[in-house]
Amino acid sequence: MIGEGISRTDGPVKVTGRAHYSLERQEPGQALYGHIVGAGIGYGRIARIDASAAERVTGVHLVWTYHNAPDQGSPEGPEGDMMDRARPEFVSDRIDYYGMPVAFVIADSFEIARHAAGLVEVEYEAEPGRYVLATPAKTAQWKSETRIGDVDAIMAEAVNSVDQLYSTPYHFGQPMEPNACLADWRDGHLTLFLTAQMLNQLISGLAATVKLDRNQITIDSAYVGGGFGSKIVLHAEAVLASLATMHLNQPVKVAFTRRQIFTLVGHRPASISRVRLAATPEGQLTAVGHDAAIQISPSEAWDEAVSSVGRALYATPNLLTRQLHQTLDMKAAEPVRGPGELAGLMVFESAVDELAEQLGVDPVELRIRNDTDYDPDKELPLSGRRLVDCLREGAEQFGWSERPRTATRRDGRWMIGYGVASSMRGHFQTSAEALVRIDPEGWVLVRSDMTDIGTGTYTIVAQVVAEVLGVPMSVVRVELANSNHPKGNGAGGSWGAANTTVSVDRACSTLLERIRAAAGTTYNDIFAEVRRHFPDGLEAIGRQLAGSEDPNYQTFSQYTYGASFAEVGVDIDTGEVRLRRMLGVFAAGRILNRKTARSQLIGGMIWGVGAALHEEAAVDPRFGSWVNGDFAEYLIPTHADIPAIDAIMLDDFDERANHLGVKGIGELGAGGTGGSVANAVYNATGVRIRDFPITLGKLLPHLPRDR
């Protein structure tokens, strides 16, 4: 049962429209609609704001601006905790970032709210803002430094070395379901139907913002249409819907428009990396350096860990990785799928490819030669280290031996190239609890505040319970994503599946022990025993320790591993890059459901393709505004961009991660995938583009005329 590729148990209700997402929930009854007006400048102040025309529209209940907004909690400084901090809106006349809420209209209908929002008159005094990420100066104040040996000295003497600058742009999670909230204040209790990833943590920030106690708030996120990090942090839709329902004593709905998701939800920060590698002529690394500058905001410093991704990827006697935070007048960055890895591995693995080319060593072989089993940062052995297995299996299955020499293979007008890159993603464990109850009537109830953001949580939880208790999946009722349920750490950081299933498994084991104690070691029907010995039913809570309390996490450094292989074609006339095929091989512990796991891995790989070739949220350096604010201009891969791709999951079990052997896979697929695409473009063309994404406009000037 565990591991089997069972289709999602929530599939039928989703495809038939019976799964109610946050904004569709009917429980509170008729709701009012809120719409947010965003600032039209990047930095400065509101000189004048006049909501009177909006207030006069029939059907408008109220309009808030900084003149009349309710009292809210105060945020901490830049180092304050991302989840606990209050996030008040309409605090003053200051504009800190483009699109920052300046007014909020609540009306009888969505149409009236939006119409009235357009009637709010705002005049701004724009001030010069900082909007451009700069290449770090020599005098830069570096942070998060890991230093072993002397990279500078090795680089100065190295015969074979790479020292290059790479840049990656802003990215957005942009799930299919926009950020949305239906809030209902009733009898002193605030209920939120909110599309969210981590309920328990989000309540802290919300309570601090709207000045309630945590126990006065319930969040229900039964169905979530994708997350990718964009539903982890508290955003304006939840804050304003909550304040409005508390003020008006009526339910209030607020959803972001697609354009608003570009301004009101944080992005993956842009980065500029300097990657330095030195090696012996035989391809043994002697130095690894990765310096990365990233954008932060004046109010908050989300540290997208771009520079640290290569710390334990390969063996090296000299290592230096460090981050530089550049404060720009933009919205604070937030987690976006594969934070650190997606951008960091893409550029790091590009540099490794450059080294392989320079040495004349096969890129797969170079990576294998530098395998390691040690994390020099944590000073711990790596558990489940199977990067070489991934590389070897992938090379075999992909037909890597057929890789062309640089810029030599053609298929008509297409220049053909292969690329490889490694992936590595930290596996984190957090504290978590889950309740399992066996009902004498013949069914099993599971409760956890874990969310299913489209990944398959409902299904894998039912699989684990069914296997451990020996009951059919059809009698297992899984209730997730209610903040009143036993608490875990939600879906994010790729930890949700392991945290939740380990807790559920422990609860099941406790139940089995009690039943065996009562019934003896052999019995036929678990429900019959429960009816006989526990006529009121039987329940238990299973617990998972936080990594910081788990001895395995003090003695081993926990990661998942993968290798990505890509074949691209580059049109020699136009520079258009198209993926032709792709294979990912992953070692991520025991797989709970081969079908949902494959979906996640393939989805992650497609993110890698997008990062390499398409995705770029552009900022206008004059105004601090997002230039491309819709899916016509913010390009992500379409179906036509993704031919046959596959993900192979190695048979794996990491007993040091947990007793189920399970690790996270939600972000591993993205990992270094972008690097394999970029390296394939180089192999096809002999052209190295270090400023991502690799577009035809950047490639074309370097391509030969071929007539």
Binding site: Y98, S625, G629, D630, A632, A640, D641, L700, R707
Partner: protein, 316 residues
């Protein structure tokens, strides 16, 4: 979105009358206008839905060409047997645009009328002479690699987004128009306007006029090619697109018709480049006479001759 009134006339004459009301806008497939209304870029007071006025047929003309009704859907036009057989450049242009769902809804007259996709036009926080005449052009000096390199002005550097119109330009299509008591025709070459000082004036269509159809002249001999270069494989506007009709004379490939999209605020065709030089670079030089690019759009210039050379290689 601003409140508006709505009516659905039953005949072209009723539609013309309805569209004469102040602040009226005609809607067909709605694939462009509705988006623009939601974003506050367009705010018509009155919507005239012409989906029930007929004009949805494709007919042979006595001259051997085709008359395409204004309400024919992009998908139906692309799939029409005579279009596929005799005007394949048009079919290919149509299917390279938008997505299947959009092509099912979008009308051919709406395609003629679609507005630029310039990101600064789409962002109402930015100055744009199309949206607010005289407010300035924030695209100039802005970020983007899809701005015009030909026919632009100090007031506007946007491009026209249509693929269909590029093919129509190569085919010398004619736009048929009716107003109260009058009919006229406009050559596709004269239908779209360059920005000059008045980028808010986009077409030759006058207030009170309704597009009733498009006429294609009799078919051209030769090979017809539509090539769209874009940053992803589907659902993206052209970096540069090209409609080409070419023949072979005495073993030499001759360019008969050549029009480009993605270069200007209208489909770009320079007749002097046709039936002239045989060398693609020489042809591209004629097409690109007067071109001005910036760092981000410079790639478009070599792309013209490279696309043309590659396409001509395939003509036999």
């Amino acid at each position: 979105m601003k409140p508006f009134s709505y009516e659905r006339p039953a005949t072209p004459a009723e539609a013309i009358e309805a569209a004469a009301r102040p602040g009226a806008r005609i809607i067909a497939g709605g694939t462009n206008l509705l988006d623009l209304m939601k974003l506050g870029i367009e705010g018509p007071a009155h919507i005239v839905d012409i989906n029930r006025i007929g004009l949805d047929r494709i007919e042979d003309t006595p001259e051997g060409g085709l008359r395409i009704g204004a309400l024919v859907r992009n998908a139906d036009l692309a799939a029409h047997p005579r279009v596929r057989q005799h005007y394949p450049v048009l079919t290919r242009a149509l299917v390279s645009g938008a997505s299947g769902q959009l092509r099912n809804k979008a009308s051919v007259s709406g395609n003629l009328m679609q507005r630029t996709r310039c990101p600064y036009f789409y962002n109402t926080d930015m100055a744009c002479n199309k949206r607010r005449p005289g407010s300035g052009c924030s695209a100039i000096g802005g970020v983007g690699h899809n701005f015009a390199v030909l026919g632009a002005s100090d007031a506007c550097i946007a491009t026209h987004p249509s693929d269909m119109c590029v093919a129509l330009r190569a085919l010398d299509a004619v736009v048929e128009i009716e107003s109260a008591g009058a009919k006229r025709s406009i050559a596709i070459a004269d239908f779209h306007l360059l920005p000059g000082d008045t980028p808010h004036l986009e077409t030759a269509l006058q207030p009170g006029e309704l597009i009733t159809g498009i006429v294609l002249p009799s078919p051209l001999a030769g090979t017809q090619i539509y090539r769209k270069v874009r940053d992803r494989a589907s659902y993206a506007f052209a970096n540069v697109s090209m409609a080409l009709v070419a023949t072979v004379e005495h073993g030499e490939v001759v360019v008969e018709r050549l029009a480009f999209g993605g270069l200007a605020l209208k489909p770009w065709r320079v007749e002097a480049a046709e039936r002239g030089p045989r060398d693609p670079d020489a042809i591209a030089d004629i097409v690109l006479a007067g071109a001005k690019s910036c760092t981000e759009t410079a790639y478009k210039l070599p792309l013209v001759s490279r696309m043309l050379a590659a396409a001509l290689e395939t003509v036999q």
